[in-house]
């Protein structure tokens, strides 16, 4: 075998194996981190869950609330998926040292060849659409400055992350066209007919007179560039908000199906109340659970694993925050920031575990305050569910807010004076205001 090709195969194999190893490690860490959350069994009504996943993650149903953005987003999404088909050939070529192995294998069978050419043409057309969409998205972020894409919580890494992903897409599309256009040009020079790729064929017409060596090097740059881009993307993805392209699927599958107004009843409190009301039977029933339970959540480990999956799935689009009545009227609360802080804290806890041989060592911090979610933010929520309604992939920021509020009140007795008064009234006179229960029917005495 040509030593040049042998070298390429070796390099290709090495790079892909190393990349997959690191992706595997990151994926494992993310899985472990999500499992740090409180256990919650979600296994009911699989049919509806599957339908949600199909419509909302795969079909992007909720995105279509804003059709223009939805179509642009859909173009990038479909281009991304369909490009993976060409990637299959790139991988086989890479491991075997062939060039367009599938094309050459089926070249003589007209129907299959046609299918191949249609496939590549679809990739190219969608890539152009995706390219346009990417430019529009970049300008929405950086020129038009759509408010929800330019809020305080996005300063720094979040903003960089969003732009990097978009530049990345432009880079990948450039590579695909470099590869296909130069390849088409060389093929045309050799056989006097092109592959039949419409868009790259048009570019090929302009460049086919370049020296063969230039075309070849350019083609290889595009090919390797595309491959390294894809691998780089895979390595970058787990650390990026862009992880939603994968996690949207499990996240919509496991999303809650109850009415949005329904909050969980804290089981630990139910137990306490049973104890108070009927000590003997309650003792007998609960004796075995010696482990002390937390009331609500102070840190990420106290949240349901589903809330942690929510946090890892969030792509920081900010539709939740743009709909939040507290945020719109200038309060500190931003549901997106709730999700971002939860993810940041979860990753901090994960790093802590990695650094301490698999065990979390108390770092004196928690999800509340410590540069994460402030009490003031939590206090501003009206539990209106606008954020939950908005999320295109069924993330629920309200679940986290309620769990943290529970911890503030029940564990820390951290409550505004007015709320303390309201609690006392409910406990003493069965109304949130200071009215006597004896007067509850006074209204009926009036005319």
């Amino acid at each position: 075998m040509n030593p040049f090709i042998l070298g390429q195969i070796t390099l290709f194999t090495f790079i892909t194996i190393v990349s997959f190893f690191f992706v595997y490690k990151r994926a494992k860490a993310i899985y472990r981190n999500i499992k740090l959350g409180r256990k919650e069994i979600i296994s009911d009504r699989k049919g509806i869950r599957f339908k949600n996943m199909l419509l909302i993650a795969f079909g992007q149903q909720k995105m279509f609330k804003n059709p223009l953005v939805a179509i642009l987003h859909f173009a990038i999404y479909v281009a991304f998926i369909i490009t993976q088909i060409e990637l299959i050939e790139i991988f086989i070529d890479g491991y075997t040292g062939h060039h367009r192995i599938i094309y050459h294998a089926i070249e003589s069978i007209y129907g299959l060849k046609l299918l191949y050419v249609i496939g590549v043409n679809a990739i190219e057309f969608l890539s152009v659409l995706a390219f346009i969409a990417t430019l529009i998205f970049l300008s929405r972020r950086n020129l038009v400055k759509v408010p929800r894409l330019n809020m305080a919580e996005l300063k720094g890494w979040a903003r960089m992350d969003a732009n990097l992903i978009l530049f990345f897409e432009i880079y990948l599309i450039t590579c695909i066209f470099s590869m296909n256009a130069t390849d088409s040009a060389m093929h045309y020079n050799e056989t006097a007919i092109g592959y039949g790729f419409i868009l790259s064929g048009m570019i090929a017409r302009f460049i086919h007179e370049l020296p063969h060596t230039v075309l070849m090097i350019w083609e290889r740059l595009g090919w390797w560039g595309h491959l390294i881009g894809v691998l780089g993307f895979m390595l970058y993805l787990p650390s990026s908000k862009h992880l939603h392209i994968l996690l949207a699927f499990p996240n919509t599958f496991f999303a809650r199906l109850q009415p949005k107004g329904e909050l969980s009843n804290l089981a630990s409190v139910t137990k306490e109340i049973k104890l108070m009301m009927n000590p003997e039977t309650a003792y007998a029933a609960t004796d075995s659970t010696a482990e002390s339970e937390r009331f609500g959540a102070k840190d990420v480990q106290d949240l349901s694993w589903k809330s942690l999956l929510d946090a890892m799935s969030c792509t920081e689009c900010g539709r939740c925050t743009a709909a939040c009545p507290a945020n719109i009227t200038g309060k500190l609360l931003s549901p997106r920031k709730i999700m971002m802080d939860t993810r940041d804290r979860l990753e901090e806890v994960g790093r802590n575990i990695d650094a301490n041989a698999g065990k979390f060592v108390d770092d004196g911090k928690s999800l509340i305050e410590n540069g994460y979610i402030s009490v003031e933010e939590l206090r501003a929520c009206t539990t209106c569910n606008a954020c939950v309604e908005e999320c295109p992939i069924m993330i629920n920021p309200l679940d986290i807010i309620i769990e943290l509020r529970r911890s503030l009140i029940l564990e820390d007795s951290n409550s505004p004076e007015e709320w303390n008064g309201m609690f006392a009234n409910i406990e003493n006179n069965a109304a949130p205001w200071q009215f006597s229960q004896q007067d509850r029917l006074n209204w009926a005495e009036e005319k």
Partner: protein, 268 residues
Amino acid sequence: MEDLKRVKTMAEMMAEGISPEILFWVGCAGSFDARAIKVTKAFTKILQHLNINFAVLGKEEGCTGDPAKRAGNELAYQMAAATNIEILNAYEVKKIVTTCPHCFNILKNEYPELGGKYEVIHHSQYLQELIDAGKVTLKDGGAFKGKRITFHDSCYMGRANDVYEAPREVIEILDAELVEMKKSKKNGMCCGAGGAQMFKEDEPGKQRINTLRTEQALETNPDIIAVSCPFCMTMMTDGVKGKDKQDSIKVFDLAEMIAHGQGLDSIL
């Protein structure tokens, strides 16, 4: 205009050996808040006018615990719930109707797990049922004719429980012009009272939520802002007063408008 007749309690009904068809859960606002009491009375008049066999709990009713729960005080909530469930179960209550979306949501969605299982409906749904059954027809349907009414969705009926059409169908029989706000139904904006915000000052910000919501309502140039929640009532009424529009724009509950249309109440 009709006078309120005597309202019977579950205890009285039970002593007489009658089991009422429905329990009217009045709620704390409906019992104590001067404005909400008017809604309670209007709805009661409708029930009495139709000879519906209903009762209230009266002095045995207590806060459902909603504001405590939403604030994070699960203990106060579950204590309240345990007490209420004990009473409701003792009277073998099957069906509850309430004029408060917060009571509706918590009774319907959160009490069952604690042992309180009832059929719970909101008065907007109940009124719609009565209208559909032909029981509520407007004697003087012209009272609201041509008036512009915008309906403010309460979060706890709307997004929380996906009830959007019942209140609109109730408004429909008033023969008025229903004008939707830009943010309505699924996209409706909160009045600012939920999540126990009703019971404390707003967090620092540049505007009160009810002021913004009122501005959104005023954009529709309404004669009436219709609500179906006592807390929305307070918030929107305050908002309209804040804009000094209380003389030209009224905030009414659905029950009040239906009672007025039936000649049971006089609000216009």
